[in-house]
């Protein structure tokens, strides 16, 4: 399988900074993959997201080394506005990306830019409002709705454009747990029903882990660890060392491993943890009952 995104020896340093934000990145991301990118603040996650959409180097000043290819073509080689039709980015601050006066205008803005006809726009609008449950909000100004709704609008505006690749830069960082869950439900549906390549930069690992096929850890501008989600989280010691705190259920099992009370794989989700805990506790539980 050929990579839809190929990054080779990529470094980016913003003007007037001492260190590169990204330093010697090598990555391949494949079509249809759901990739989670994590890392502490300042690790270069947002810079990577901007690089994938051509906003870097297009909109920022700095020094670039190496190559970032999207669908086999270097990002700078795309004509202005062309790459963004293939790569959609959702930023962490939804309000910062609103460009229109109503939710409906916001959703159709990108579609009009694509040059779609009115029936095509109507069809996509219906599809995306159904997917993101935004129908009732269409006539409202996007800056007057709740934080969770705003982020769903931002996500829907990008989704409607049906980009091959979607990059979500901390899409739930400003949301409460319920709104966060709803965003990931939408991403879950997207994963099940579409074949988009989705790259999510996120701190909320509980929601990300069940969806991600692969995880990448960025630290100090470099790829510190990457691999399939289950394999990735077995390296929990390294993650903790890099300031990443996996879900507590996983950390709990890691403690059990450290105390040699458990020697299997670390569970990724709460359900897996409950199941494994049952296996761990059953013999002791029955002993306790019997004593």
């Amino acid at each position: 399988m050929s990579a839809i995104i190929e990054i080779r020896d990529y470094s980016w340093q913003y003007l007037n900074t001492e260190n590169p934000a990204l330093n010697g990145i090598n990555l391949d991301i494949y079509e249809g993959e759901f990739v989670g990118i994590i890392g502490p603040n300042g690790a270069g996650k947002t810079t990577l997201a901007l690089s994938l959409d051509g906003l870097i180097p297009g909109q920022y000043h700095g020094v670039k080394q190496g190559t970032v290819k999207v669908m086999g073509k270097e990002v700078e080689a795309y004509p202005r506005g062309e790459l963004q039709r293939q790569v959609g980015v959702v930023f962490s601050d939804p309000e910062a990306q609103f460009t229109a006066m109503t939710v409906e205008d916001e959703l159709v803005f990108g579609l009009e830019n694509l040059g779609l006809s009115i029936p095509e726009i109507r069809e996509r609008l219906e599809w995306v409002t159904e997917l993101t449950a935004l129908k009732s909000l269409l006539p409202k100004p996007p800056y007057e709705i709740s934080g969770g709704q705003k982020q769903r609008v931002a996500l829907a505006a990008v989704l409607a454009m049906m980009p091959k690749i979607m990059v979500l830069d901390e899409p739930t960082s400003m949301l409460d747990p319920v709104s966060r869950k709803r965003i990931f439900e939408v991403l879950g549906r997207l994963k099940r029903e579409q074949n988009n390549t989705v790259i999510v930069i996120e701190h909320s690992l509980e929601n990300l882990i069940p969806l991600a096929d692969r995880m990448i850890l960025l630290s100090e501008g470099q790829v510190a660890l990457q691999g399939p989600t289950r394999t990735f989280f077995q390296q929990i010691a390294l993650l903790l060392e890099k300031g990443i705190y996996p879900p507590e259920a996983m950390q709990f099992f890691y403690r059990l491993v450290q105390r040699q009370w458990y020697n299997g794989d670390l569970p990724l989700t709460l359900d897996e943890a409950a199941e494994r805990l049952e296996h761990v506790l059953m013999p002791r539980h029955s002993t306790y009952q019997g004593s």
Partner: protein, 286 residues
């Protein structure tokens, strides 16, 4: 209730049956009427008509109340500018002397003429803002086929104005949280310390501009290049149709304007010489 730029209008209001272009056309053309009418009573009649339209449109007329102090202070300033600060004109008729300053009839008359010209203009603007949303302006502009980039820049300006106000509140609250509060302080202190708000607001505005640019680029919008030449469908306009009554309203506004010009310059109507109000005032004062 539907939110407008200046308040709320019930969903049942007949104003929603009117195309946004007609509302904008009304604003642009009717605002000009007082410029061609000198007689205050005609401008007062226009003011009453606009207030009547607001009632018909089910605009909460209480919003007009907040403009009463503005109207009073504006009237006072105009009157003072024309009379006390109007200079000495031996050729004018003196009505009375105020602390040795002659107050002329002509200057009082001119102040009233100006004042009664401004009032319906403001009322027209209030009527428009009370019955329209930002989107209506954009729709109106697109209806007359203004280039997309023009309407979009205008929309961004509207949006930016709202964002700056929001950011100002955030900065103010942040300053207050750190113990900096100008509430109750003298005006000179407030002006001196205003820089405390302005610097972060300026920095925030720069950041907002950057984010906004990124958002535009990320949505595939380009001002130049191949992408900018894409033929855009205007989906929003599909929600609005120019109905027969919109043609009628547009025609009425246009004909009224033409009739006004003909009456003013062809038959010399609406001038001061024909004003019964001015004649009555003259008989009272002089």
């Amino acid at each position: 209730m539907n939110k407008t730029m200046l308040g709320y209008v019930p969903k049942e209001s007949p104003i929603y049956a009117v195309h946004p272009f007609v509302k904008l056309y009304f604003l642009l053309i009717v605002s000009l009427f007082p410029m061609f009418v000198a007689a205050p009573e005609w401008n007062f009649l226009l003011l009453v008509i606009i207030l009547g339209l607001m009632v018909i449109s089910r605009v909460d007329i209480r919003i007009v109340r907040i403009y009463i102090p503005v109207a009073i202070s504006m009237g006072s300033i105009i009157l003072i500018s024309y009379t006390i600060l109007g200079g000495r004109h031996p050729e004018f008729q003196v009505v009375f002397n105020l602390f040795g300053l002659p107050i002329y009839w002509e200057r009082i008359r001119d102040a009233l003429v100006v004042y009664f010209r401004i009032l319906p203009m403001i009322a027209t603007m209030v009527f428009f803002l009370s019955t329209s949303r930002e989107r209506d302006i954009i729709v109106a502009m697109r209806t007359i086929r203004l280039p997309f980039v023009v309407t979009y820049v205008f929309a961004m300006a509207l949006r930016a104005a709202g964002m700056v106000l929001e950011d100002f509140q955030i900065v103010r609250q942040a300053e207050q949280a750190r113990g900096f509060d100008t509430t109750g302080k003298p005006l000179t202190y407030k002006i001196r310390k205003y820089i405390m708000y302005m610097i972060p607001l300026f920095a925030l505005s720069l950041r907002r501009s950057e984010e906004f640019t990124n958002a535009l680029v990320a949505r595939g919008y380009a001002f130049t290049g191949e992408a900018s030449r894409v033929k855009r469908a205007d989906y929003i306009l599909t929600h609005y149709t120019f109905k027969p009554h919109d043609f009628v309203f547009t025609a009425i506004i246009t004909l009224a304007f033409i009739a006004l010009l003909v009456a003013r310059y062809g038959f010399n109507y609406f001038g001061l010489d024909d004003s019964w109000f001015i004649r009555w005032l003259y008989s009272v004062l002089v």
